[in-house]
């Protein structure tokens, strides 16, 4: 304690100012690009804002949002992606990475093959998948027909649309796979040797050595995966639009979320509300709901991983 009090107050003030100076770019960034937009979003949520004019409407936007079935539908779709798509991506990436660590020859080629899809632009990849999975003319269903299986409707069916998107997401999981591969290769070999001497089989080694060692990487991937899923937008909108075959022409509009609203995610609903329907105040409510959902999932994940780390 004495040593702490021995620090001259003048020096401490100078040190604090210097720290603030170094932190200033970050603080300014947070205030300008996060703090201000967040406060502005809360502010606009109480206004009728058509992109040009503002009118205070109290809680009208909030009441409308909570009564809007489309909000619940899009939230359910987003939740589905978080619960099914993210784990599928993580499991596939981890499985492939694990396999790649075991392969003796040709691992470099396989790594490249599995990584390449993540370089394909989201729009191109989505359009390609919709064509591949076209129920009538796509090669996937034609191949299935050759072995006597009637393929599903994929992006044309409300039941299959989200699983089809999950296939697309799993296909493009190269980045996560590379992160997992690096983490797996970083696990100390002697831990496996010690576990093997103790009689641990492959599964026990994976569960008790690999997973605890790579858990920070898993946590990072899970959290970023959840945030990505909560903000899922482009692929769902493109798949929906291409599969529906609809275009915006005179007297004809595209209904987002085709088929049957099954691909309408919360960010899409937000976008259409704000920029298609000119209801920016209502879109701000959606944005705040989206923010709340992201925060809840992130906190849950952080808690779960902290608990798991504590146990291990």
């Amino acid at each position: 304690m004495a040593s702490t009090h021995a620090v001259p107050p003048r020096w401490r003030r100078g040190e604090g100012a210097r720290a603030l100076l170094w932190l200033a770019p970050w603080i300014v960034g947070v205030l300008v690009f996060f703090g201000y937009p967040l406060l502005a979003t809360v502010y606009f949520s109480f206004y009728r804002y058509d992109l040009f004019t503002l009118e205070f409407v109290g809680l009208d936007n909030w009441r409308y949002a909570f009564a809007d079935e489309r909000v619940y539908q899009s939230a359910r779709n987003t939740l589905w992606l978080v619960v099914f798509m993210v784990p599928a991506q993580l499991l596939f990436a981890l499985g492939v990475a694990q396999l790649l660590t075991k392969i003796k020859s040709g691992a470099g080629v396989l790594r490249t093959i599995f990584y390449l899809p993540s370089l394909v632009p989201a729009v191109a990849g989505t359009v390609a998948f919709v064509y591949l999975l076209n129920p009538a003319t796509g090669p996937v269903n034609q191949l299935l027909a050759l072995v006597g299986i009637t393929g599903p409707d994929w992006f044309g069916s409300a039941a299959w649309a989200k699983p089809s998107l999950t296939l697309l997401a799993v296909w493009g999981v190269g980045n996560t796979m590379m992160i997992f591969l690096a983490a797996l290769l970083d696990v100390p070999r002697h831990l496996y040797e010690a576990a093997a001497i103790d009689g641990a089989g492959a599964w026990r080694q994976f569960r008790n050595v690999t997973l605890p060692t790579i858990s920070p990487v898993l946590m990072f991937s899970a959290i970023t995966g959840v945030i990505y899923a909560v903000q899922y937008f482009a692929q769902a909108m493109i798949a929906s639009r291409v599969a529906s075959g609809a275009t915006d022409s005179a007297g004809s509009t595209f209904t987002p979320g085709y088929p049957d609203g099954s691909l309408l995610t919360l960010p899409q609903h937000l976008f259409h509300t704000g920029f298609r329907d000119w209801s920016m105040g209502l879109a701000c409510v959606h944005a705040l709901l989206l923010f709340a959902v992201s925060m809840v999932f992130t906190l849950i994940l952080l808690r779960q991983f902290s608990r798991a780390e504590g146990e291990s």
């Binding site: 529906s244 005179a250 209502l282």
Partner: protein, 448 residues
């Protein structure tokens, strides 16, 4: 502490810059008077106009630039820089950001109400009156989709009209139907199925999910109305919609929803050479006049023997026969345009000059909007195209009236119609009342 005065000075400078940066752009309305006797445009000072439009293909942009060249040849001191393939959202964003073009054109009429109400596009009423332009040369429907609540903030450039296309080889000698009963009868007669029930050729696809079968395009067959005079939804209260939906569902059920859905999903792209009408998979289809140009441009389809006719109409409303749906490209002067007077002169030329309209129509095969242009001997019109000119000019031809929630309303109705045609709606009246409620609730939130 010595940084504080510096920071304060910086902030002050920033504030002042912000306050003085954008001097107010000139607005349309107060028109300068000319001393000479020539046209107003000739007396305007030199300027370069920026024009944004949605045309994207080479043929479209070349035709549009030729129409613009007709103006710049007359008034060489005015130059025009055109930017192609621009969407409505880009126009709105540019206006908000203070970077608006002088002239902006849109393919859809969906944002006209918002643009007019918010002032994003300037009101043309005053200059139209000053220039003595008689708007009665435009059909009622075209006047309707270019204005909102008394503010005329856009003018119609070219129009689209919707009618019936029929493949003569598949019609088996039958004439195109004039009533919904005839359409049903002919559909059943012309439809060809495989032994297992799979549809091979559809007489007519009644699904609202098929390409151009939107409620806007099919509604005129029964004279259905979208809105009450106060802007609220008329979908639930206008019996015409119920008449259309009942007819449509009976025909869907005749095919079997699953059969029809499977057939529809296996069809080619609407904008490609695998269009089912081109490939002889559909005998009759509702489509716009622009399909004629697409057929003519397709190496395979151009040899097809087909005809066009007005839409079949409700049996109890024969006076509707000959009418249809229309909408089209709109053009206006955004708020913040640097040269609004020049911009108006260009718009006036493009939308009212007969030669310009005819040139553009001949190149793009869209319907010209003025009576003079439609009657011009220079207008290329064969029988197939003339059908759409007649539909456009018909007094009962209707449009989707401008609404601040235009896209939302169409989306709400279309979403319901998908449920309806698949048989998920048990009570049609209650379902339509639900559509009304969605539209009216949103209208209330948008300020009525």
């Amino acid at each position: 502490m010595r940084f504080v005065p510096l920071a304060a000075a910086g902030l002050l400078a920033l504030s002042l810059t912000a306050c003085t940066a954008g001097t107010e752009a000139p607005s349309l309305g107060a028109r300068p008077t000319t001393t000479g006797t020539g046209p107003v445009a000739a007396a305007l000072p030199p300027a370069t106009l920026e024009l944004w439009h949605g045309f994207s293909t080479d043929a479209e942009t070349t035709a549009f630039e030729e129409a613009i060249a007709g103006f710049t040849k007359k008034y060489p001191q005015i130059k025009v820089t055109a930017k192609k393939a621009v969407q409505d959202a880009q126009i709105t964003a540019a206006i908000r950001g203070g970077k608006a073009p002088d002239v902006a054109a849109s393919f859809t009429t969906d944002n006209v109400a918002q643009w007019c109400r918010s002032g994003a596009f300037q009101d043309l009423t005053q200059v139209i009156q000053q220039d003595g332009i008689d708007l009665s040369v435009l059909p009622e429907a075209s006047r309707s989709y270019t204005e909102f609540e008394g503010k005329r903030c856009t003018m119609p450039l070219l129009a689209d009209a919707y009618g019936l296309y029929y493949n003569k080889a598949l019609m088996k000698g039958n004439e195109p139907p004039k009533t919904l009963s005839e359409l049903t009868e002919l559909t059943k007669k012309l439809t060809v199925r495989d032994p297992d029930g799979t549809i091979k050729v559809a007489g007519f696809i009644p699904s609202f999910q098929y390409y151009e079968n939107s409620p806007s395009h099919l509604g005129p067959m029964v004279g259905a109305k979208w809105y009450n005079p106060d802007g609220t939804s008329a979908i639930g209260s206008d019996p015409a919609w119920k008449q259309l939906l009942t007819w449509q569902k009976e025909l869907v059920d005749w095919y079997g929803y699953d059969n029809l859905d499977k057939f529809r999903k296996g069809l080619g792209d609407e904008w490609g050479s695998e269009h089912p009408f081109f490939e002889g998979k559909v005998a009759m289809a509702v489509d716009g006049e622009w399909r004629n140009a697409m057929i003519a441009a397709d190496p395979e389809a151009k040899s097809m023997d087909y005809g066009t006719a007005p839409l079949p109409v409700a049996d109890d409303k024969p006076d509707l026969y000959g009418s249809g749906f229309t909408a089209g490209t709109v053009i206006g002067v955004p708020k913040g345009a640097k040269h609004p007077q020049h911009a108006w002169e260009l718009i006036k030329h493009l939308t009212t000059d007969t030669d310009s309209l005819v040139t553009l129509s001949n190149a793009l095969r869209n319907v010209p909007t003025t009576k003079a242009a439609m009657e011009s001997p220079k207008l290329a019109k064969d029988d197939k195209f003339a059908t759409f000119l007649d539909i456009f000019a018909h007094p009962k031809t209707s449009t989707l009236p401008a609404s601040v929630n235009s896209v939302f309303n169409q989306d709400a109705f279309s979403t319901f119609l998908i449920q309806w045609e698949k048989g998920a709606v048990k009570d049609l009246d209650a379902g339509l009342a639900g559509v009304d409620k969605r539209i009216n609730d949103k209208l209330k939130l948008s300020g009525g």
